[in-house]
Symmetry: C2
Subunit: 293 residues, 2 copies
């Protein structure tokens, strides 16, 4: 049995959480693996249980009520397998369902949008912040809300870039097609004088080099590309430490590359997912288990 923490009433979770338990991470599909990669790098002693809802991917073009329903099913599946905290590694779900999940669940829930917004404000000099995301994330207005809550002087230019996810999933991450698509999506951000581009979808870090290169060539100001996955892993580490939920190295089974103890669940097409794990996590393809929601 691990050490349980509920001695600090103001910050403690409402039920006893065991620091030996894994962190639950979920996404509509593959993209959340970029968050897993960052968490494993920042917190190499933690165990991770990942769920990709590949039967219902993509969430990006679905209505808010549908996304909330799917997110509840994913969260319940992870909580029933016992996790100490939940990371919503999906911008679309973070945008529309985070408050519902927090109200419903007796454990800490972290999304990717608030950390991304804080990192964006910190990185910007002009406070004109560009965001690219799925149709659902952008339509929700979640990034402008999150940025404004950090700095009321900031100006957010958020635009949907629906082709970037299929480009990543097709493996077209170099060459003319992704370059021209990225150019077209960056245009309104360049016109608005932004100096930050937030990668508002967990697939986009795979296109980071192209986005960075094209933004540098086109933007008036020196530009910073903010990866919400990276910012989320950093905030998760702080939260776990504060709540005395952080697992220490002694019992750690993590590999040398920091992506050792990761259990992967999907709701459909495990073989295709398995092949993609190499692209997202590096190393050889991982074992993947199918569950029904």
């Amino acid at each position: 049995m691990g050490v349980s923490v509920d001695e600090a009433p103001e910050s403690a979770p409402r039920r006893r959480l065991d620091r030996e338990l894994p962190l639950g991470v979920f996404d509509s599909g593959l993209g959340g693996l970029t968050v897993v990669r960052e968490i494993a790098a920042a917190l190499p002693d933690e165990r991770l249980l990942y769920l990709g809802d590949t039967a219902r991917v993509p969430y990006g073009a679905r209505s808010a009520s549908t996304v909330i329903r799917y997110a509840q099913a994913c969260a319940r599946a992870l909580v029933s397998r016992r996790v100490k905290a939940l990371v919503v590694a999906c911008n679309t779900v973070s945008a529309v369902a985070l408050e519902v999940l927090r109200a419903e669940l007796d454990l800490p829930v972290i999304g990717v949008i608030e950390p991304g917004a804080r990192a964006a404000v910190a990185a910007s000099r002009t406070l004109r912040i560009g965001v690219l995301g799925t149709a659902g994330t952008i339509a929700s207005g979640a990034y402008p809300r999150a940025v404004i809550s950090v700095s009321t002087r900031a100006e957010v230019h958020a635009h949907a870039a629906p082709l970037l996810v299929p480009l990543v999933e097709e493996g077209w991450t170099e060459g003319d097609v992704p370059r021209l698509a990225v150019q077209r999506y960056l245009e309104p951000l360049a016109r608005a004088g932004c100096d930050v581009v937030v990668l508002g979808c967990t697939h986009y870090p795979i296109l980071r080099t192209i986005i960075e290169t094209e933004a540098r060539a086109r933007f008036e100001h020196p530009v910073a590309v903010v990866d919400s996955a990276h910012a989320t892993a950093a905030e998760l580490a702080t939260m776990l430490t504060e709540r005395k939920l952080r697992r220490t190295g002694a019992s750690g089974a993590s590999g040398a590359n920091g992506t050792g103890d990761i259990e992967l669940l999907v709701t459909d097409r495990p073989r295709a997912f398995q092949e993609m794990t190499a692209r997202f996590l590096g190393g050889p393809p991982r074992d993947v288990q199918v569950i029904d929601l």
Copy 2:
């Protein structure tokens, strides 16, 4: 009451079907509207009831068992609303679920692949036939099977083109990005010496001009582009006439453009669907009703 037909035992449906009933048409989302457009043009007196499963679109990357389950739900929803025949206006569903639906349902079921395959063989001189489709359609091997059943001498070169659906849905149907993507997808067909390109996904007719232009510029032989939607509408007309299920003009309420009497159902995001109806059907946006499956 309309006229019922069960006097011809060898070709008649197993239960009494009323020729006044609408034709049921379904797809995973929007794409099937290209089939609706062709049916409305070929059969202007028919009433159409369309279901787009927009809550679970796209089917193209899902496993066969998931697609079958979704297709059964769509088919049951239409049959419970009373239709005289069912058109599976989705290549992915036609590829993996047609036989299951035919075995399960007491009414004629037509898919888009067999008509497309017959039209492709008829249009080809070299009998080297190229097919573009979603990952699911291509992985199923349904086009090669259907073509070989028409001509054992034919050679089928079927390739997945997963970016074309998101391009159409993004409205990027002109310019460099779709042109370069189409070029890349046509390359293996050009190398194989094909003289036919089958549009093996109901979204692709929207990109027909680009596909035709690029194929003509690159293929060794004069090239024919085969639209499965068009071929399906023609076979549907023949089937309805043969089974005495065809509705006659007297009671028709169809509009002058032949897309008058169409009822549209979706499972999510009616507003977005409504906006797209103009792109697929022409004319003003249509009324759309949401149902739960």
